[in-house]
């Protein structure tokens, strides 16, 4: 299966196709965010033996739309002592970072908005935008809680980039590429060819499966920390820091933060999908595979990871700052290093 942008094929390589390629993920992002918000509300409710939103549309399915309609109408407050420019800019920076990540995600063998061969590297680079947005917002708000939240967030994200990068590096070593489409292609075939199960190879590869499983687990934890999700939501930990970095934000600017959080969730989920779950590959080899099936498999795998994130959020208590650092530096990093060495050896030997 070769990789190309189907828009280029239909309307030719032009500005129009580039714009359309940029618009498609935006539409996808909005639809996804609405679904994810509803999903979060509903799943949290079901876990807690509740029903969740029930009175907005049938079974509350219009809830996120109502929220958007409401947030659009809210007054936009800038605190008197805030740094106006940074305060206004922060949500856009954050959202831009999240949206830019979508540029390289291969939704299907026939579609990645921008196909660049350093995709993995790019995602990590753009992902760092979120830190800047949070620190900007937290500092500019001129609120002690926001500032504390921003500082926590900065230290947290910086420490967790390292194990995260190591994991991704390992995957790049396994796939022999930094190109996301290439990585997906490298795992084509039935599900035991995914890097989660050691990648393609003879049955003797079975001994590396524990390492790849561990690696994906490490990436899962890291991704939770990078998106500020429970149990690592200390930058916004409601019981301590009220709202953390977005304490002072209202209306649409808060909605941007909100959207960006969900967008980031999807990005890390899709990275995990691409790197370990075979991206758009069908789990059954050739069966049910193709351009459109690719979109289906990709989104369903990514959504499953998002579901996992939501599920974890409503199960676990929050960790403390020092424990977070401990986990990042003294647990995840050594384990990731061990996996990296072992898998690199495996790659060299076979």
């Amino acid at each position: 299966m070769e990789t190309f942008n189907f828009l280029d094929k239909i309307i030719g390589e032009s500005i129009l196709s580039a714009v359309l390629s940029a618009l498609l993920p935006l539409i996808f992002l909005i639809v996804y965010a609405l679904i994810a918000i509803l999903g979060e509300l509903k799943i949290s409710a079901w876990i807690q033996e509740r029903l969740g939103p029930m009175r907005t549309g049938p079974y509350g399915i219009l809830q996120p739309i109502a929220e958007v309609v409401k947030l659009l109408q809210k007054e936009d407050i800038v605190p008197t002592n805030a740094n106006r420019l940074l305060f206004n800019l922060a949500p856009f920076v954050m959202f831009t970072g999240a949206f830019a990540g979508f540029a390289v995600i291969p939704f299907s063998p026939a579609f990645a908005p921008a196909h660049i061969n350093l995709g993995l590297y790019y995602i990590f680079a753009v992902g760092a935008f979120a830190v800047i947005g949070i620190v900007m917002g937290g500092w500019a708000s001129n609120n002690k809680y926001s500032l504390l939240g921003a500082m926590r967030s900065a230290s947290q994200m910086i420490s967790y980039e390292i194990p995260g990068a190591l994991v991704v590096l390992t995957a790049a070593v396994l796939a022999n590429s930094l190109d996301l489409q290439e990585i997906s292609l490298a795992q084509s075939g039935p599900f035991w060819n995914w890097f989660l199960f050691g990648g393609p190879g003879p049955w003797t590869k079975i001994w590396v499966i524990p390492f790849t499983l561990l690696l994906s687990l490490i990436f899962m934890i890291t991704s939770l920390a990078e998106t500020n999700r429970t149990p690592f939501d200390i930058p916004e930990g409601e019981s301590e820091l009220v709202g953390g970095y977005h304490t002072e934000y209202s209306g649409m600017k808060f909605a941007m933060f909100f959207f960006a959080e969900y967008a980031n969730m999807f990005i890390v989920a899709s990275v995990l999908t691409i790197v370990f779950l075979g991206g758009w590959n069908s789990p059954f080899g050739e069966f049910m595979s193709g351009y459109f099936w690719g979109v289906f498999w990709f989104t369903s795998k990514a959504m499953f990871i998002v579901f996992l994130q939501i599920w974890l959020r409503w199960t676990l208590p929050r960790v403390r700052v020092d424990q977070l650092m401990f986990l990042g530096w003294k647990v995840l990093l050594p384990f990731a290093l061990v996996c990296f060495i072992v898998l690199s050896l495996y790659r060299i030997l076979y």
């Binding site: 876990i47 033996e49 509740r50 029903l51 029930m54 599920w311 974890l312 409503w314 199960t315 986990l327």
Partner: protein
């Protein structure tokens, strides 16, 4: 070193246990009572809004006195023998007092239920109604008296006339002492 691995294992293990529990709850039966459509059966003795049955109230004011928050406002007018109505209570006995004002301020009420226990005629009762929130505070003051303002005016006038007459009679008490006793009822 062993402790380190044990600790890491404990993190992993206990998280899995927690996830298992929440996952089973994901599909368990939901306990939510969807309020406007479904209702939890409120027991008959629940202490919610008070209700006065005016034809049972004899105006003894015990409820107003026992109320810890003084949220009950009662005013009475004596029924005079010259009254043409000859009012009777709910249980058929002769009424001695008109209850002209019986206001309960539910913004003050603490729903302790003391008023219902002291009432000799069971005129004041807690109902199971709790849906009476209001857009204004005045909307929470309930006027339970069954008398219209004209009626109140009329009865007041009757009482004044009568008491003036009584006073006059009292002045002439030396001459005719028995008239006062007659007026009592």
């Amino acid at each position: 070193m062993i402790d380190y691995f044990k600790s890491v294992w404990a993190w992993f293990h206990t998280i899995l246990i927690g996830m298992k529990i929440t996952f089973t709850h994901l599909f368990s039966k939901k306990v939510t009572i969807q309020y406007p459509n479904e209702r939890y059966p409120i027991p008959h003795n629940a202490k919610n809004r008070l209700q006065l049955y005016p034809d049972l109230c004899n105006g003894c004011m015990q409820c107003a006195r026992v109320c810890p928050v003084q949220c009950i406002d009662v005013e009475t007018i004596r029924v005079v023998p010259t009254d043409p109505d000859k009012p009777v209570m709910g249980d058929g006995t002769q009424r001695k007092l008109w209850v002209s004002v019986y206001d309960i301020d539910f913004a003050k009420c603490c729903f302790c239920g003391l008023c219902t226990t002291v009432c000799p005629t069971e005129a004041i009762k807690h109902t199971t109604d709790f849906e009476y929130s209001s857009y204004t505070r005045e909307g929470l003051i309930y006027h339970f008296s069954a008398m219209s303002s004209e009626q109140v005016e009329q009865k007041k006038k009757l009482f004044e006339e009568w008491s003036a007459k009584e006073k006059a009679a009292k002045a002439g008490k030396v001459a005719e002492p028995s008239s006062v006793e007659k007026g009592e009822n």
